[in-house]
């Protein structure tokens, strides 16, 4: 049996003593695309933050294995170097720092970590020009400061562009669809789809079903009140679109304490 890229067991986490994730179980195998859906405040973004190692979250129980290693032991930059990528819901502006320079520094850190030679400026530019077309971004963006003065859509496309350059093993896309118009949504989804390979995986976090019209997930998980309350295939997303989340929220509290009905359900791989 293949090794899972990500295996989350009974993960509980919170902020300032307030529990947010209350026992998450999830297993992602190479080649899979998983979607996590859920109402506001269900813990979707917290899950993304905990996986990426953002400061300020307390892990109270459970474990997370990433490619067989204990993910929670790794510093955020080491997680990134090991191929875990987070497309930010709110990409951060870094004034005065050239986008190309930033991305080259990032890629070279990852390459160094893998024991690969660093790319020089020319090699990097060749690579980048190739990838930027994938996202239909203007090359002018490469000369601008990181995310500074970008429109909301440009910021999101830029995240996926970075993902294309860094070629992660596991990409976590945190509400990448929010703030995108339909054309941008198609471009971003198309980019993400093209980056799909048998040896990598994607975890797509979204509030709305419409993203999943373009990024077809193998599994859809519904997160409610810090637990995965339902797992299904893409039909589940359509059902949610139609019925909303309410019908799923009541059983959530009934299942409390057992890890939820969805625990382990995504292990078909």
């Amino acid at each position: 049996m293949k090794q899972a890229i990500l295996e989350i067991q009974d993960l509980t986490a919170g902020v300032e003593g307030k529990p947010i994730l209350k026992g998450i179980n999830l297993r992602i195998y190479p080649g899979e695309v998983h979607a996590i859906m859920g109402p506001n405040g269900s813990g979707k973004s917290t899950l993304a933050a905990v996986l990426a190692g953002r400061d300020g979250y307390e892990i109270t129980a459970g474990r997370v294995a990433y490619l067989g290693r204990d993910l929670l032991e790794l510093a955020p930059e080491d997680r990134a170097r090991e191929g875990l990528f987070l497309a930010f819901q709110y990409p951060v502006e870094i004034p005065g720092v050239n986008s190309t320079y930033f991305l080259k520094a990032a890629l070279n850190e990852i390459r160094k970590h893998r024991g690969q030679p660093e790319l020089d400026a020319m090699e990097f530019l060749t690579l980048v020009k190739d990838k930027i077309q994938l996202l239909e971004l203007n090359e002018d963006l490469l000369r601008r400061s990181v995310n500074e003065g970008f429109s909301g859509g440009e910021k999101k496309r830029n995240e996926v562009f970075q993902m294309a350059v860094l070629e992660p093993r596991l990409a976590v896309l945190d509400e990448t669809d929010s703030g995108l118009d339909i054309d941008a949504l198609k471009i971003v989804s198309n980019g993400v789809n093209k980056l799909r390979r048998p040896d990598n995986a994607q975890l797509v976090i979204t509030h709305y079903q419409r993203l999943l019209d373009y990024i077809i997930p193998d599994y859809v998980h519904v997160l409610a009140d810090g637990r995965i309350v339902r797992t299904g295939d893409r039909k589940l997303a359509l059902e949610l679109e139609e019925k909303g989340y309410d019908w799923l929220l009541k059983p959530a509290s009934a299942a409390a304490g057992t890890g939820g009905p969805a625990a382990g359900a995504a292990q078909g791989g």
Binding site: R79, V92, L103, I110
Partner: protein, 482 residues
């Protein structure tokens, strides 16, 4: 304390790289300051009578002055009788006639500082005057420059070889009456650099002076005088380092720039004097007066400074825009970490018509550092259509440091246009996390963010030095993020 903060605090602060001491025999004046010391220095340098007289007038004037206390810096009173005012590596016989005869230990010192002086290893395209404690130990590329009529030599040599020029310009931009430290410098200055670019000549290479304090308990008082005649242009750079010592040392320099019609002077500083240790022990008191006179029409003087060193920095490189259509610029990055204090900025005095000035100041405070921008934009009645743009940005790292901005505007001509923008920001945890998530370690992230913040200033530096300055910023802020 959050985990990231702990990690950051745990990063080891890199040692000051230039803190070594060179073991050379020195010849020093006894500590203390009086007319005899002034005469001693002047005699050592076999100076003409006019200069000794000027020094003595400066000294007598200094006695009547009080140390300024308006700056936002704090330090215990300085005992001016405690310091040594002259120290020079001992010379055998008459002293070296050329660089090849300079004490190998001194050459080695500069080599270690990354400033090779020997013929073969010299920095390409940069002429260097190396000042060690009170004297210049040598100047490179002199001959090549002389062929173009450019004079670039130590101040002492200029006094001997070109006394008329020195007499004509010395003290014309910064008179010895200007301020306490300028008066002190005028009385006891020991060496420095002299540059003269004749009419119509563009200096073909960067000129630079590298100042090194070595001896203990010694003040360094150098003077730099740069004159660019009509249509001439020059780019000049100074660098400074000092050994690590527990006592504070005083550095009070004076720099005068004079630009005649259409002349351009670009003056860049990378100041890396020993900043003191993490507890605030030791470090240089850097009390410096720098001023440029745009005397001619369409002349231009541009100051760029990257101030990372010194326990205390007190300096305001300024421009007097006398000539019509003249331009003054000031680009500054000042970093204060640990217990460093900086009170720095500029004065732009608009006298001529259509004069323009630009001020871009970037202050970075970390640790318990205090960083203060103080700037004056003065538009005199005569300065019709003067324009100024000022931008002062402060970046805070951690929550125990301070940033202060004191802009002064005096506008006496209604046609003038003066703009001032200011901002203060804290280096964001979200910025650092974003970089972390892309694989960059926290220290590299800080360096990246800080360099981005300073970009508008760094790009004003000559290429080779911009790279050095970027590295220096990273090192100065190591272990400083909270």
């Amino acid at each position: 304390m959050s985990t990231a903060t702990e990690t950051i605090a745990g990063l080891v602060r890199k040692e000051y790289k230039y803190g070594f001491v060179t073991d050379v025999e020195t010849e020093s004046a006894p500590p203390g300051l009086n007319e005899d010391i002034v005469r001693f220095i002047s005699a050592k340098k076999r100076e003409p009578e006019f200069l000794l007289e000027w020094r003595l007038r400066a000294y007598r004037h200094w006695l009547t002055m009080r140390e300024p206390n308006w700056a936002h810096v704090h330090y215990p009173p300085i005992d001016y009788q405690d310091s040594v005012y002259y120290s020079a590596p001992k010379q055998k016989g008459d002293g070296p006639r050329s660089l090849e005869e300079v004490d190998p230990k001194l050459l080695e010192t500069y080599e270690k500082l990354g400033i090779p002086l020997k013929e073969r290893a010299r920095l390409a395209g940069v002429a260097v005057d190396a000042v060690f404690d009170s004297v210049s130990v040598g100047t490179t590329f002199k001959k090549q420059l002389a062929e173009k009529g450019i004079i670039f030599c130590s101040f002492s040599e200029a006094v001997q070889e070109h006394p008329a020029l020195v007499r004509k310009y010395l003290g014309t931009v910064v008179p010895y009456t200007d301020n306490f430290f300028a008066a002190l410098n005028s009385a006891v200055f020991s060496d420095g650099s002299f540059c003269f670019i004749p009419k119509g000549v563009r200096c073909p290479m960067e000129l630079s002076t590298y100042f090194r304090i070595n001896a203990a308990n010694t003040g360094q008082f150098e003077r730099t005088l740069i004159v660019a005649e009509e249509g001439a242009s020059v780019s000049y750079l100074e660098g400074c380092t000092a050994p690590m010592r527990d006592e504070h040392q005083l550095h009070a320099a004076v720099v005068e720039l004079i630009a005649l019609d259409q002349a351009q002077i670009k003056y860049s500083t990378v100041q890396n004097w020993y900043p003191g240790d993490a507890e605030g022990r030791g470090g240089i008191y850097n009390f410096v007066t720098k001023r440029g006179l745009c005397k001619g029409k369409h002349s231009k003087i541009s100051w760029t400074q990257v101030e990372t060193g010194s326990a205390i920095t007190w300096k305001y490189p300024s421009c007097i825009l006398l000539g019509d259509h003249s331009t003054g610029e000031f680009y500054s990055v000042a970093v204060t970490n640990n217990y460093q204090q900086a009170d720095t900025g500029t004065k732009m005095v608009h006298v001529g018509r259509n004069t323009r000035s630009t001020i871009v100041s970037k202050g970075i405070s970390a640790g318990r550092g205090q960083n203060c921008y103080r700037g004056l934009v003065k538009v005199q009645k005569s300065a019709a259509h003067a324009r100024n743009f000022s931008q002062c940005d402060s970046l805070l790292l951690g929550d125990r440091c301070g940033a202060h901005t004191f802009p002064y505007l005096e506008v006496r001509n209604a046609t003038a246009r003066v703009e001032h923008e200011a901002s203060t920001s804290k280096i964001g945890e979200d910025q650092i996390f974003y970089c972390n998530q892309r694989g960059l370690a926290t220290q590299d992230a800080v360096t990246l963010i800080v360099n981005g913040f300073c970009k508008e200033v760094l790009r004003e530096l000559p290429m080779e030095f911009a790279v050095e300055a970027q590295k220096l910023l990273g090192v100065s802020l190591e272990g400083s993020v909270g």
